[in-house]
């Protein structure tokens, strides 16, 4: 068992408040990823769970036991750092066994555990080497080995792959996923990499300015973001935000914004959106066109591999029905709302004057295909 409960956690550095009343439930044996832009407090939250930062208020419970005032070593958590943080003067074996030697375990036990871990991570040929004689991936594996050898209930990863090149990152990502299946422990992972978050996580926690914006499965966050920040943050390339007036070629000042993912914009001669292609990126399996709408809003469109779109070409676009995300609508956005309704058969009601009812003005996900989404 290794379930973590965080209650009303606050943290400040001097007068700067970095975590605001964080509440989280992390289930046993789950893989939770904290994502968010730089400075959102994700690393601070992780370090507070680890015990490297002191909380100001609140509780951190591990299986019901309050660990928030315990020393890091007594919390039953282990951490893998972004820079690996291997002791340069020690060999791989000494690095992996350091925690055990600090705990004054018998030499034979240390050797046995180090051997087991090194086999698991395919490091057995490098035990005598110093970290400086290892590649980036090997160093990362040693750092993971140092965490595993303590047999903790919870593993904490602080952007562990960000120092690796793209190819190695993919490989290590797969290894971490495999490791997780083998170890059956709870993993908490911090990253700003979309792909890592989406591929590794059971649950993603999106943070902004020290506040949890949304918690959910990767697909839940992708399809049903609760606000524009999450909508824009999850997904790569990011969601397009289009002023609603653009749907009618109107410049509606202060009007609402709708969100459409690049793969949900279709090339359609009868579509309501008009734009001019500014750049085309051909990535092989998929291509992206960046087109400017009349108000110079740049939108990204996912294109099939066999497209014939070129730069400066005018485009007309429509939106896949049911695939519009919308934020707050105000009264003057009737036209946009009507268009959306016509497209997606919105499960919302309109007043006689065509004004949108208050329910419609609340922030809600516009995943409109299944009626159950209401």
């Amino acid at each position: 068992m290794a379930a973590i409960t965080i209650r009303n956690l606050d943290k400040a550095y001097g007068k700067t408040r970095v975590l605001h009343g964080i509440n989280l439930e992390i289930a046993d044996n789950s893989f939770v990823v904290f994502v968010g832009p730089s400075g959102c407090g994700k690393s601070t939250l992780l370090r507070t769970i680890a015990g490297l930062e002191e909380k100001e208020r609140g509780e951190i419970l591990l299986d019901g036991r309050d660990i928030s005032d315990d020393a890091p070593v007594d919390r039953d958590v282990a951490m893998v750092f972004q820079s690996y943080a291997l002791y340069p003067q020690m060999s791989v074996a000494e690095n992996i066994g350091f925690a055990l030697s600090v705990a004054k375990e018998p030499k034979a036990t240390i050797e046995q555990k180090v051997t087991d871990v090194s086999k698991l991570l395919r490091l057995d040929d490098y035990l005598a080497r110093k970290p400086s004689a290892l590649s980036g991936g090997q160093r990362q594996r040693v750092a993971i080995g140092r965490a595993i050898v303590r047999d903790p209930k919870v593993f904490l990863f602080d952007e562990p792959l960000s120092n690796l090149d793209a190819e190695l990152r993919v490989e290590m990502r797969l290894q971490i996923a495999q490791l997780r299946r083998r170890l059956g422990a709870t993993f908490i992972y911090v990253t700003h990499d979309q792909v890592e978050a989406m591929t590794l996580a059971d649950t993603i926690v999106v943070l902004r300015s020290g506040v949890v914006e949304q918690v959910g499965s990767p697909m839940e966050l992708y399809h049903r973001p609760v606000n524009q920040f999450v909508a824009g943050f999850i997904g790569s390339p990011k969601m397009n935000f289009i002023p609603a007036g653009q749907l009618f070629g109107l410049d509606l000042k202060g009007a609402a914004t709708i969100g459409v993912r690049p793969e949900h914009l279709l090339l359609d001669p009868n579509g309501p959106l008009k734009g001019i292609v500014r750049t085309v990126e051909n990535l092989g399996a998929v291509s992206y066109a960046y087109a400017a709408l009349p108000d110079e809003t740049l939108v990204t469109i996912a294109l099939p591999p066999d497209h014939s779109i070129s730069v400066d070409q005018p485009l007309t676009l429509s939106i896949v029905p049911g695939r519009v995300w919308r934020g707050k609508f105000k009264g003057e956005d009737v036209l946009a709302a009507r268009y959306l309704r016509s497209m997606v058969i919105a499960p919302y009601t309109f007043s006689a004057e065509g004004m949108i009812l208050p329910t419609f003005a609340s922030v809600r996900v516009f995943d409109l295909q299944p009626a159950a989404a209401k």
Binding site: A50, V73, M79, S83, Y87, P88, V102, A103
Partner: protein, 280 residues
């Protein structure tokens, strides 16, 4: 090493010439001392100070060593210098570790005081220092000199080591904390091996300074049996007066430990001066 710029042949010659002249200026007096220390009598030193000795006489060294009681001076110097090295490296590195990694209310003030110590020469504080040492009943004892000399070296040592420690990645210490290491274990097992170049620099500076220190022992020591080699040289001059060939031999004996210390620590010393503890 990557070259920043390449010299033209003529520039190369000029630069090398300047360096050679400088080296000659430095080496010349030492060469003269070596030559004259090997001359069999004072007459040769006076007659032809720059000529080679007629007979290479190594006895001067033995005579200076035994005849002038150099063993005692040498031993005293060794005790003082080595104790200072141990005290200063240990105290300065632990102080720097606490200032950099475990800051507390007043640690900046403490660091400021050490920096004042770098700026203000210890000789200005000689009178109160004398009173302190006297009231501790440490006058005319090696321990008194050791403590005063160590204290006088601490500011520079703390300055060097704090600069170095700030460059050691804090994540290493976080990792050690996660592994259950206590502050002293972190210092001893993780930090000390990483700041070895800086420690070597501090040890070398301390050794050379305390070995060559003349003024502090002169103030705090009275009995000849406690004299270090610098005061011993004065005694030596009193005893042998104008016996320059023996004097030169004595000076060279005094130089040997400093040279050995530098040779032993030179690689680490240069690393310490240039590298600044950069992580890999």
């Amino acid at each position: 090493m990557e070259r920043l710029f390449k010299l033209k042949p003529l520039e190369q010659i000029v630069v090398q010439f300047i360096l050679l002249v400088y080296a000659a200026i430095v080496v010349f007096p030492i060469g003269i001392a070596i030559l004259n220390s090997l001359k069999p009598n004072l007459g040769e030193v006076y007659k032809a100070p720059f000529a080679l000795p007629s007979v290479w006489s190594w006895d001067n060294y033995a005579e200076a060593w035994f005849g002038a009681n150099f063993q005692t001076y040498f031993l005293n110097s060794a005790i003082i210098s080595l104790s200072c090295v141990v005290l200063v490296t240990l105290c300065a590195s632990t102080t720097a570790f606490v200032i950099v990694r475990m800051p507390f209310k007043g640690s900046t003030f403490l660091f400021g005081c050490f920096m004042l110590g770098v700026v203000i020469p210890i000789r200005l504080a000689m009178a109160p220092l004398f009173v302190v040492v006297k009231s501790l009943r440490l006058l005319d004892s090696l321990l008194g000199v050791i403590l005063v000399q160590s204290a006088s070296m601490m500011p520079v040592a703390v300055f060097i080591l704090t600069a170095f420690l700030r460059a050691v990645p804090a994540e290493l210490e976080d990792a050690a904390k996660m592994d259950g290491a206590l502050p002293f274990e972190i210092y001893w097992r993780v930090v000390v091996p990483l700041i070895r170049p800086a420690l070597a620099t501090v040890a070398l500076l301390t050794f050379v300074q305390s070995w060559n220190e003349y003024f502090l022992p002169l103030i705090f020591l009275q009995s000849e049996s406690n004299f270090p080699i610098t005061l011993g040289m004065t005694q030596f001059r009193l005893r042998f007066d104008v016996q320059w060939h023996l004097m030169f031999a004595g000076i060279l004996i005094m130089l040997v430990p400093t040279i050995i210390a530098f040779l032993l620590a030179s690689r680490q010393f240069i690393q310490g001066l240039t590298q600044g503890g950069l992580k890999e």
